[in-house]
Amino acid sequence: MKRHTSKVALLAGALTAIALGLTACAPGGSAPSGTQSLGPVSKDIGSGKVTLTVWDQNTDGGIDDAQKQLNADFEKKYPNVTIKRVSRSFSDLKTTLKLALSGDNPPDVVQANQGYPDMGAFVKAGLLRPVDDYADLYKWNDYYPSSLLKLNSFSADGKKWQGDNLYGVSQTGELVGLFYNKAVLQKAGISSPPTTLDELTADMAAVKAAGSLPLSYGDVEKSPGIHLYGFALSAVAGAQKVNDLVNGSSGSWTGADEVKAAGVVQGWQKSGYITPGANGVSRDAAVASFGKGDAAFLITGTWYLATLAEAPSAKDIGFTALTPAGSDTPVTMGGEGLAWAITSKTKNANAAAAYIDFVTDKNASEVLVKTGNLPTVVPADAVPPTGTVTGDITANYMTISKANGITPYLDYATPTFYDTITAAAQDLVAEKATPQQFGQTLQDDYAAFTKKNG
């Protein structure tokens, strides 16, 4: 019996010791010490041997070709630099970049996703180097529209998105918009694509009456829900309101416009305008079925450009965006590809900045256009012909980005918003939640984050 008690005492002692040890050092180390001291910046990257480790997410056909070519050109221009490229798909990059950045030997250049969950967390932990000094050096402020640079900015403590410090620049532009099939619309007696949300709903009714599927939609991956709702919300509320809502300046997800947009989306479902069982249909399947001419509309991002330009019914496909009340130009969700950022632990910041400028500048944009991509800033002499889906997209992107009519992706709003809104959007489309309940679910997440962030 006595032995037994002494064992218990030993165990309790050991546990206490472990517990004390655990509480003594919190995970995550100490807070980054104020502002980082940045060395003098220069376009000159010296002549010593430099190896730049670069993590990008340019894995899809066209953009992968472009990246390979740009890397080769850069190494030709600077023979002393070797690029070590690590290329991962978006979701793989999202999950592994955190670990890579927090290590002792992080990559020099990384593509960081905008918003709180990724770039915000990296900035907060002091892992990214502000690049305002390089922006002056390379004249990025003149080259990019200010609304796009804002998306890549944070306050120095990572708490306020669209803050004062710039943390990177983007290579490609993106828009979520309305792809439409001219042949299917014609069959329903529609000669021109809709310009407002009400017109779109009316056109859907006509298409359904003519016996075709109005909207091809698949949401098993959950992210398309953000695009569907974000597209509708932008067309209802306009650029300023959506931007203020997402960056936390003002507004509420239970506001009149927010609930109205959710109501419109659910109305499409109720009227039978959306692919049946959309929550179990994959996005690729929905895109493929639209590409075959099985539906009148498809709401998705310009990153499907290459797929749709080669689809069986490509010649009938057009692209447009909707104009909200009180705006002269269309407004839709989108922005730019992941920001190319410099890590704070890199020893070759000058070389890293030179590389980033090289893969995003005018020359790089021309390479991107040639490989079937949409660059952040479309070079004036490289605009594709109108009448094709590529031409439609480029024209829309130029108009909308110039008029600052691009609204940010809604999942930037809080670190957990991606999960919240994707699940809520499935509930909305399945009629498991009313538009009001949908807004409340989003608002609960939003309010919790705002409270915590102070």
Binding site: P32, N279, G280, V281, D427
Partner: protein, 327 residues
């Protein structure tokens, strides 16, 4: 608790009925203090033998486990400094409806992964074991066991296509004129979870059957002969001989299948990602998602620890039906 009780009983057993092993031990044992110190030395040497395995365990399991426990008490995004959160991460396992839902789904999956396969396995065993001289038995066994061998991502991908709009299930229903029942199974709020569960049933039934058949093979044929001579029905034979004899195998099958139900991750990750809505989230998926996607490492660690505790408790409970002394 049960383990110590068993050991205790076993010690009493060996001293009360000195069988050959016990007798050997007594003859080699020396009386008095010498014996005592000898045993002590022996036990120290024994620790040395255990050491390599223990080091591997400590480095790859023990330390990460302790670290996970540590994380679970913090509010941490995985990068910036953590703040002490006390027990709030554990409290949220009970209060957060998303997490409660995930554990609830795991319980439902247990029915599909464990209860149904074990029942069906027993039923099939009773049938098959009567067909003693069945030709090609090993071929059947291989086929039934096949799902266990295929990589789970492959299994999931196969079932995604089976359940899809124009997949095998809906095709069959339409062929039978049951168009009304056809649906996108993995996108349906009521059927997505059972659909995933059914994949588990399909996966585990072969495992159970193979285990039970080998167990039946170990039963002495004389028992069945005697029962038949006494005029026992097939039903009686099953409940009086087969079922008690299979207790060990049933315990093993239940442990394996229940644990596989509780730690389901790959199937959900590939087929639904927790959707539609949150109707197929499971604890392991939540732990992954929180740690790697939403930057809630503390909460993820608490979910992982809670899941570990549940698995350990369930395993301990199952070990109670295991026969006390397997000779």
């Amino acid at each position: 608790m049960t383990v110590t009780a068993n050991q205790h009983e076993r010690t009493i057993d060996t001293t009360a009925r000195p069988d050959s092993r016990a007798a050997g031990a007594t003859s080699s044992g020396r009386p008095g203090r010498g014996r005592r110190s000898g045993r002590r030395k022996r036990s120290l040497v024994a620790y040395l033998y255990v050491l390599p395995a223990f080091v591997v365990f400590a480095v790859f399991l023990g330390w990460p486990f302790i670290q996970t426990v540590q994380y679970s008490f913090y509010d941490w995004d995985g990068l910036s400094p953590a703040t002490w959160a006390g027990l709030s991460n554990y409290l949220s396992v009970f209060t957060d409806s998303a997490l409660r839902g995930a554990f609830g789904h795991a319980l439902i999956l247990m029915v599909f992964y464990a209860v149904i396969p074990v029942m069906l396995g027993l039923f099939l065993t009773a049938l098959i074991s009567r067909a003693n001289a069945l030709r090609g038995m090993s071929a059947f066994r291989t086929i039934l066991f096949l799902p266990q061998v295929i990589a789970s991502v492959v299994v999931a991908t196969i079932w995604v296509s089976i359940y899809s709009q124009d997949g095998l299930v809906n095709g069959t229903l339409r062929l039978l004129g049951l168009d009304g029942l056809a649906r996108v199974w993995l996108g349906d709020y009521a059927f997505a979870l059972p659909a995933i569960g059914f994949v588990g049933t399909w996966l585990n039934i072969g495992l159970c059957l193979v285990l039970f058949l080998s167990g039946v093979g170990n039963i002495q044929p004389e028992l069945f002969e005697a029962a038949r001579l006494d005029g026992a029905s097939a039903r009686r034979e099953f409940f009086s001989i087969t079922l008690p004899a299979l207790r060990g195998q049933i315990a093993v099958a239940l442990t394996l299948t229940i644990v596989s139900a509780l730690k389901t991750f790959d199937l959900v990750y590939v087929t639904t990602g927790g959707g539609p809505g949150t109707s197929t989230t499971v604890p392991a998926y939540e732990a992954y998602n929180r740690a790697f996607n939403t930057g809630q490492v503390g909460s993820a660690a608490a979910v992982a620890i809670a899941l570990t505790v549940v698995i350990m408790v369930v395993t301990a409970l199952i070990s109670r039906i295991q026969p006390k002394d397997v000779q």
